[in-house]
């Protein structure tokens, strides 16, 4: 799969390398993976599958075309090529590719949108304070 960033300038984030291999320290959730819960960390993350829950990353997030996310997202840099239903908070920047389908609230310092992207909801621009949007932890399941 071609990186979401395509042939953009190299100051754009690339979670994936050009040849499809991953940088060290990059989490990848494939398209046949279904995650329900909280994802935390300071590594970069690419999602091609389905995630329901919260994402709180101190890194870059790439949401692939086949990806679908239900829930709140916080990351430094976010690129979206898939579907998101929830609150999106990008500390540094947010980029919506033409295949992006977003429903919810966007909160970002810098935004770019490709023609064709769908966005329904509320947009807030300006400095993003992490503390203000820290997601509440999910109610803990009884661990078996």
């Amino acid at each position: 799969m071609v990186s979401l960033w395509g042939k953009e300038k190299k100051d754009n984030p690339t979670v994936m390398r050009k040849n499809g291999h991953f940088k060290d320290g990059c989490t990848y959730l494939g398209k046949d993976l279904n995650v329900k819960g909280i994802i935390l960390g300071n590594d970069d993350l690419r999602i091609d599958g389905f995630v329901e829950g919260k994402l709180d990353l101190d890194g870059e997030l790439e949401v692939g075309q086949t990806a679908s996310i239900e829930g709140d997202i916080i990351a430094r840099v976010i690129a979206v090529g898939g579907k998101i239903n929830g609150r999106i908070s990008a500390m540094d920047k947010l980029r919506l590719e033409n295949t992006a389908r977003i429903k919810g609230t966007i909160n970002t310092a810098s935004l770019s949108v490709a023609e064709g992207a769908l966005f329904n909801g509320e947009m807030k621009m300006g400095p993003v304070k992490r503390e203000a949007i820290k997601p509440n932890p999910l109610p803990h399941k009884t661990n078996p």
Binding site: T27, D32, V35, G41, L138
Partner: protein
């Protein structure tokens, strides 16, 4: 059974990532970070040296090089490498345990007879 399509890549939970919740699907995953919850896959799970899994794990093949706390079910093969630690019961049709591995729990071998029962 081939669940891996030609263009699919292994899913990775990297070292500084943590997932709390439920992971399901038909992918192979490599765990370098930490997972808390449940893992239920039609694929393989590799827990790397740095990986910490506090979850009940069900997968086809499971290789443990790191630490797993929970019940482990490998439909095909369970391998615990010399650096691996397993705290919990495990069941598998075939086990491969290296010298140095640490295991605390009950073992239950899946034989063809009780495999047929469960289906």
């Amino acid at each position: 059974m081939n669940t891996i399509t030609s263009n699919s890549k292994k899913s990775i939970i990297s070292r500084n990532a943590k997932i709390e919740g439920e992971i399901k699907g038909s992918e192979d995953i490599v765990v370098e970070g930490s997972i808390k919850g449940t893992i239920q896959l039609n694929g393989d799970v590799l827990v790397e040296n740095s990986g910490v899994v506090e979850a009940n794990v069900e997968a086809n093949n499971i290789v443990i090089k790191g630490k797993v706390i929970g019940t482990v079910t490998a439909r095909e093969m369970l391998a615990i490498e010399s650096s691996g630690k397993l705290f919990g019961d495990f069941s598998s049709s075939s086990v491969n345990i290296k010298e140095g591995a640490l295991i605390e729990g009950h073992s239950h071998m899946i034989t063809s007879a009780n495999k047929a029962e469960s289906h």
